[in-house]
Assembly symmetry: C2
Homo-oligomer: 310 residues x 2
């Protein structure tokens, strides 16, 4: 494995407050949530997907979106806040609350899109036009393409289909694209292959990768992405997160693990793994199931003393 020719910097978009907290069974009280998020931002995070403006019936854990975003934003100038919006109503709420980026999600796979959003891919693509029109001039638009690598129902996603869909999304004049390895089962070889196929279609637009860790490949897939010149990643402190339609799927790549890995290869993120681990451990203390390796290890704790010869 080679470690030269890597990007000098990488951007981490912290998604724990959205992807992580929505996968927690119990509602985290708003005050506690804001406290966690402020602690996350104190690690140096400059981009965050903070919540989802979705029906509280669908995701009660994020029912306080309209309170959390303005409170955190006021306390953290200079951070770019992304909000997931499933529809026009959500977009209105996100804009009213001050979101800097609206994130629209659809799945590359028809079956997963139907399972997740109850629409065909064509319906999803058409449906985002109103949101984009509403947001124009008010916020950036990010489109997240779920199952860009693997689908829980169909298996490996054809990279040519992903490339074609990127083209369709770009025709709409969006600002950011995210390719999501939604279920965390893509092998590094397949992951690399898809990136090589789709890269030309992403020329000139910020492209984020959102990687889950079900089969333990998240760190290696990040290395694969860096090798291909990608340097923007979603990740979640503590490795929180999940996918409702992927039984046994694990959480996101853990921010602390990615930052430590990148630091070891000279890729600067501006984040401090020690601080990240401390925040991740504090989530654990609140009963949240963390899945990051560093968080579970003795990382950052005092080195053991050498046992003395008896």
């Amino acid at each position: 494995m080679e470690f030269n020719n890597l990007p000098k910097n990488a951007i981490i978009r912290e998604v724990c407050p959205r992807d992580g907290f929505q996968s927690v069974k119990e509602f985290i009280p708003t005050e506690k949530k804001i406290e966690f998020i402020n602690a996350m931002l104190a690690t140096g995070v400059k981009e965050m997907e903070i919540t989802s403006f979705v029906s509280p019936k669908a995701i009660p854990q994020l029912a306080d979106a309209k309170d959390v975003l303005p409170a955190v934003k006021a306390a953290n100038p200079g951070v770019e806040f992304t909000a997931l919006v499933p529809n026009l109503k959500g977009a209105e709420g996100a804009l009213a609350a001050g979101a800097d980026v609206l994130n629209i999600v659809f799945s590359c796979s028809e079956s997963h899109n139907m399972a997740n959003i109850r629409r065909t891919v064509e319906q999803s693509l058409a449906g985002m036009d109103d949101i984009i029109a509403l947001a124009r001039g008010k916020a950036k638009i990010c489109v997240s393409m779920a199952t860009s690598f693997m689908c829980p129902f169909e298996g490996r996603m054809d990279p040519e289909r992903v490339k074609m869909l990127i083209g369709k999304v770009r025709e709409k004049g969006v600002d950011i694209i995210t390719l999501a390895e939604t279920i965390g089962t893509c092998t590094p070889k397949d992951f690399t292959e898809t990136l090589r196929v789709v890269k030309p279609a992403l020329e000139g637009i910020p492209a984020y990768l959102h990687i889950h860790n079900t089969y333990g490949f998240a760190a290696m897939n990040v290395k694969c992405a860096l090798d291909e010149g990608f340097n923007k990643f979603d990740s979640a402190i503590g490795g929180l997160g999940g996918c409702p339609f992927a039984p046994g799927a694990a959480g996101n790549a853990a921010t602390e693990d990615l930052v430590y890995l990148m630091q070891s290869m000279g890729v600067e993120t501006g984040l401090d793994p020690l601080k990240l681990v401390a925040v991740a451990r504090s989530l654990k203390d609140y009963g949240l199931k963390t899945m990051g390796s560093l968080c579970a290890s003795a990382f950052g704790k005092p080195k053991p003393e050498i046992p003395q010869q008896k």
Copy 2:
């Protein structure tokens, strides 16, 4: 990341019955242990570190070494069985029980060797001469060099020191060398650097890598090793294992994860990840804490049905 120029085949030496079972608090009854081991061998395992001939006071979990080895060996012809031997008495026991390979362990780091074996490295090197003399002509000798990459007390191990120690071990005329990433914290870049430095010293002798997964780098470090032409690995079904002197350290690389990864890159191991996961899950049913990613995921279970539109 590149996936060409990888070895066509790799050897897995299954270490769960030794490194895994010794790290389990409760004694696994001998009959159950033999049943587990036979199930592991039925996945296609051809090399196994089956037990340790150590004082039952030190490691009561393996007190039945002299019963387990002959029973399993009789039932599984053609498999090469390695037994860890801490001293001459252990070597005598292992030879009497029919071990094909005696495994002698010392640590590259003085502090870890003292903590683990209560000897200086020089004393350990001198102490293995009697064992080697005893075993000559009766069994192969493997020397495992713990903390070849990272030491829990001293941090990064100097690759030049590891290379020097390989030279000292080879002067004794041993048959196999194992380099162990004992505490599972070595970054892929450092791991690769050490392999590049020591590789010339390993010319002409089978060299195994024993990799723990504390920081989640085990799979990536295996890829690094394959890239450098190494193709012999220790691993433990279910990712069991540990190190008594590395608080927070995780288990071994999980055999099922490594085999799946290698299969995805065209590296043949002769093992079937589906069968391995089934065995790993059976360990879990017995209350053993498995740490492999595939074992924890829905791997091998039926694909979810596509939820129907309401």
